[in-house]
Amino acid sequence: MSSLGTRVWSSVGKKLISGLTGLGLVIFVCIHLTGNLLLLVGADAFNRYSYFLEHLGHGAFIYFAEAGLVSFFALHIVSGISVWRRKAHARQVGYAVRGDAGGPSRKSLSSRSMLYSGILLAVYVPLHVAHFKYGGPPIIQLDGHEARDLYSLVVTEFKNPLIVALYSGAMLFLGLHLRHGIWSMLQSLGLLNRRLLPPAVTLAVIVSGLLAVGFLLLPLYVYLNPQVMPLTGGLG
């Protein structure tokens, strides 16, 4: 019999890992969007939220959350690459004519491009973190504490059309990835049956669309609304 490691990294084991990490990442993305939308409420709400997260559990929470996210990302990416490598090995000679069977097939642009949308997101995420998490925002006073003025950083960046275009592009790929990813993770975890499968696909279309639109809303809102300006009148 095979070792536990081989079983965990078997074709089915990898689906369980990919589904579980995918589920975690989707939940994170939903929370992330909810937090981001505070930007629409105003500078104070947004900066207080960021201050709250950074100081939750005396600053320990954020490190746990980040360690979790990094390991989820890593496992998700590694299992995805493994699927692609085995596929390349399993069909070395392709078909001269490629057709779609239609009917109950769930094959779509989204499902066919998971590797590519995934790679783009894997490039985007570290850049995004470097950009906004480690970007040097000015310090403001919040209830007598020093706090980072993340609001002004975000607003300053989203006044730059190039940044707005790059972010919007990335969010379209996020939507594309999740269009297949959300129902696929439920199927990978073995949670679906004949009855639940069609509504799960519909749910994936709706949620991926809402997430993409939600994330697109912020850069466009900041860019197009002249009343939204950095608190400190610009950085640098």
Binding site: S11, K15, V83, P104, S111, S188, L191, L197
Partner: protein
């Protein structure tokens, strides 16, 4: 009804690991009710009469129950009609299709997957499936006189679910159609047909672990949940069986099967 003329592009390959290529053949006088295998029979008669090597392809029952036949026709495993084996595919399905030089064009290719090496032309070696079955697709039975049939009570929904999975004829269209050349639907069906039945209980955990292990060892790809397999399956086996396989595997893994 007028007859049809076809321009066929067929994969020809003399033997395993030899180079192959699509070759063009013309067949006239094709009627609506001919199956595509009868079309190939007709072509082969012509080829033999001309002293040429006939096209090798697999078939047995020619009534959609044995799973021996299987061709990728215009890029779709078992051709354009859903829930239909190659042997049951009638030429009327191709009326109004793509033409070249006034002839209807059809491209015929073998199942393409590393674990299914080509033996000749359109015939592939599918013994990888037999080894997956041998790894765990069986149940233990008491030898001796058969028990009273009604002693073993099985709820109707369980019997139905088992029967749905057991309708797999092992043709391997699922592998041929999968963009990843995964054998997940086949293996899942062969696991799921026992999952719901008391007869399958003794080997339940081992079955899931060993069959998945053998599927991987054969070199099939991983599943990406495209669902193309269900769409080409002549028996319409649902990918919900793949979810069953994953549940069975997870339970066996956690239970230390």
């Amino acid at each position: 009804m007028s007859t049809m003329s076809f321009s066929l592009r067929i994969w020809r390959q003399d033997g395993p690991n030899l180079p192959g290529a699509l070759q063009r053949y013309t067949v006239h006088g094709v009627t609506d009710d001919m199956s595509i295998l009868e079309l190939l029979d007709r072509l082969n008669e012509d080829l033999i009469a001309q002293g040429q090597d006939p096209v090798a392809f697999d078939s047995d029952c020619r009534e959609g129950i044995c799973g021996t036949c299987g061709l990728v026709i215009n890029g779709v495993a078992h051709g354009p009609k859903s829930q239909c084996t190659t042997c049951e595919l009638r030429m009327r399905e191709f009326r109004g299709g793509r033409t070249v030089d006034g002839l209807l064009e059809i491209t015929v290719e073998p199942w393409r997957a590393g674990p299914f090496p080509i033996i000749k032309d359109l015939v592939v070696d599918r013994t990888a499936f037999d080894r997956i079955i041998a790894a765990g697709g069986y149940v233990t039975v008491n030898a001796g006189s058969a028990g009273e049939a009604n002693d073993l009570k099985i709820a109707k929904p369980d019997a139905d679910a088992a029967m749905d999975a057991a309708s797999c004829i092992g043709c391997a269209a699922c592998v041929a159609a999968c963009p990843n050349a995964s054998a997940s639907l086949f293996t899942a069906a062969k696991i799921a047909q026992f999952t719901h039945l008391p007869q399958g209980a003794p080997e339940r955990a081992r079955r899931a672990l060993r069959m998945v292990e053998q599927m991987d060892a054969e070199g099939f790809g991983d599943c990406s949940n495209h669902g193309e397999c269900e769409a080409v399956c002549p028996k319409g086996i649902s990918i919900s069986n793949i979810a069953v396989m994953r549940r069975e595997f997870a339970k066996a893994l956690l239970g230390g099967g």
